[in-house]
Symmetry: C3
Amino acid sequence: MARPITFLSDYGYADEFAGVCRAVIARIAPEVQVIDITHGLPRHAVRQGAIVLANAVPFAPAGIHLAIVDPGVGTERRPVAVRVAEDERLLVGPDNGVLALATERLGGAVEAVDLSASPFRLEPVTSTFHGRELFSPVAARLAAGAAPGEAGEAIDPASLTALELPRPRLYEDRVVAHVVYVDGFGNTALNLGHNDLAATFLRLGHRAVVDTGRTRITVPFGRAFGDVGPGQGILYEDSSRSLALAVNRDSAAEMLGLKPDDEVVLTPA
Amino acid sequence: MARPITFLSDYGYADEFAGVCRAVIARIAPEVQVIDITHGLPRHAVRQGAIVLANAVPFAPAGIHLAIVDPGVGTERRPVAVRVAEDERLLVGPDNGVLALATERLGGAVEAVDLSASPFRLEPVTSTFHGRELFSPVAARLAAGAAPGEAGEAIDPASLTALELPRPRLYEDRVVAHVVYVDGFGNTALNLGHNDLAATFLRLGHRAVVDTGRTRITVPFGRAFGDVGPGQGILYEDSSRSLALAVNRDSAAEMLGLKPDDEVVLTPA
Amino acid sequence: MARPITFLSDYGYADEFAGVCRAVIARIAPEVQVIDITHGLPRHAVRQGAIVLANAVPFAPAGIHLAIVDPGVGTERRPVAVRVAEDERLLVGPDNGVLALATERLGGAVEAVDLSASPFRLEPVTSTFHGRELFSPVAARLAAGAAPGEAGEAIDPASLTALELPRPRLYEDRVVAHVVYVDGFGNTALNLGHNDLAATFLRLGHRAVVDTGRTRITVPFGRAFGDVGPGQGILYEDSSRSLALAVNRDSAAEMLGLKPDDEVVLTPA
């Protein structure tokens, strides 16, 4: 009966925050498997958390997806649990957009509850650690078989916070894209998804000039980092099927000074 | 029959030390669940380890609490297992104070054994990695059901190392407190626990001047980080129920140059 | 029937890469235990990964040992599974040397398969994340009981990539050794294993001069870090039974500017 919990947060590894959440879950539902996705997200990086979660869930077993990136903890943002269309999966976290892309990826929300006064919460509920007192116990109880309706008060799924991402612009002779996120290796994902790739290639050919506003480099399109020499740049479809910019055995983000939301202009070389 | 093991250390994440301990436990007691609390404690931070452990255990399932912060590994400090009053829980680690606060929190030690010549140890015992050869195999065997008396030689629980913490001083017109520890976000916990808060508020009112000796800032008392603007300081009761100083979306410790044991003087604003 | 998987990589903790691999395994084989050895290896450190893996496997339960340090992902290097003599253990990873030392430690390879076109792979196979699409699903299926021959195409075990390590030179009056690796505490392991120690001691006596070419320090041989004062150097047999250089409560590597492959000359003090 018990379903697994995947767990993602920006709690970091220096502190016990993620560990205490795991402890809370083990205490309530010892039979439930917890799969740590990562706790190394940049602090308060709601959008990066949303993207990482959306990229991870298709590879995870159907269950509870717990995601805590919560700069507004203790303020009026709602803690929620969301049932999505696919596999009866449940997402648990703050309603600040961190669940939005995974919800969409899993067929959309079909049920949502506000957990603010959840009967599953641990008292006292502090203003700074809802992971421990609210999200983890709720995730544990849902994983053990409770229904979302038992975890909180029903709210309109349409009222859940959406996430606005910058949109690329594809012109005849150039493509204007934005940095979506930078991974720990400095590989830099752009907001050009799988469906934009054909159109992008058509405009740019086999090599492109990447202009960051401060720097311009010319890089080939390739498949693997090793397709170019060490220290050389490459454009490739990354493992989340987005166009990304990497530098073989080095950090593209650092070399080019790129960070999320930065605009880059791609033109044919 | 098997009970879970919570595991906390300063082994860090760069190396395999914590992983090898997990491997040792899985080899001896494959049915035992290991719950990582954190391995990111600052190296050799015995006192911070003690505080984190004491804050974590009340949220963890009853079982074995393994805690390794061990600057004196291989010297004369004793490796111990301690049975506490509450839930027959067992603490395993070096007898250097890292277990002291959790022991107290869990009702005090009722039985203790010296593990130096434990029959559960893995030979050869090195002088640098007792986590692998001593603490993990003992924790695994205890989790699988062995009695403490089988793990080592009985010692007087009263002989266990205590931990001296600085004490705050509450005067009529000011409160002199000390930094107990700084978390990975720079939030700075003071040695003013839940029971000191009423007296502290009485002296200070709704806003306090925090004087570090080098810097003075005026901050309000609040509940959530978001009660103040980004970059603004706040005094609040943290999730371990201590008074703490934070800066919304920034690091209080870095902004004020605070580290453990530093004295801060709080006066009414 | 299911056997555990130990998992080591250079994926780091900032990203979801290791977590997604864990998710893939849990989806395919929910009953399989995954034991994280570490994911904090320096990026692309094939040799350090090989050493850490070889040091860890003797302490791990017999099962599947998944090791992903893969700078050549997506190029012509082969993904492989290797069955070794000892306990029918299986090693899974890229054939770039990362498996070589553990293979040797576990009695040598008795069967090997190329996983490039494994029927267990997840489609589409990207050029950058074989951990997700190839290594993890194969490890999961092998852990759940599949035979290596079902996972890929048989190759000659003798064709597996070996790992060349620098060799020490023991002269009458000095020992020329090399840094093998540096752990997260700055402790610096040399390529003088347990079998070289007697000969090394014979040449050097109880104290040695360590000459890095840039710095010379005189240090005693000892057993525990605490055998010398804080900030003092010590030569000792480390937990993997190699001669290592440490500085009590500090980083030997940093103080002496040492990194892997650096030569050090040891002479009697």
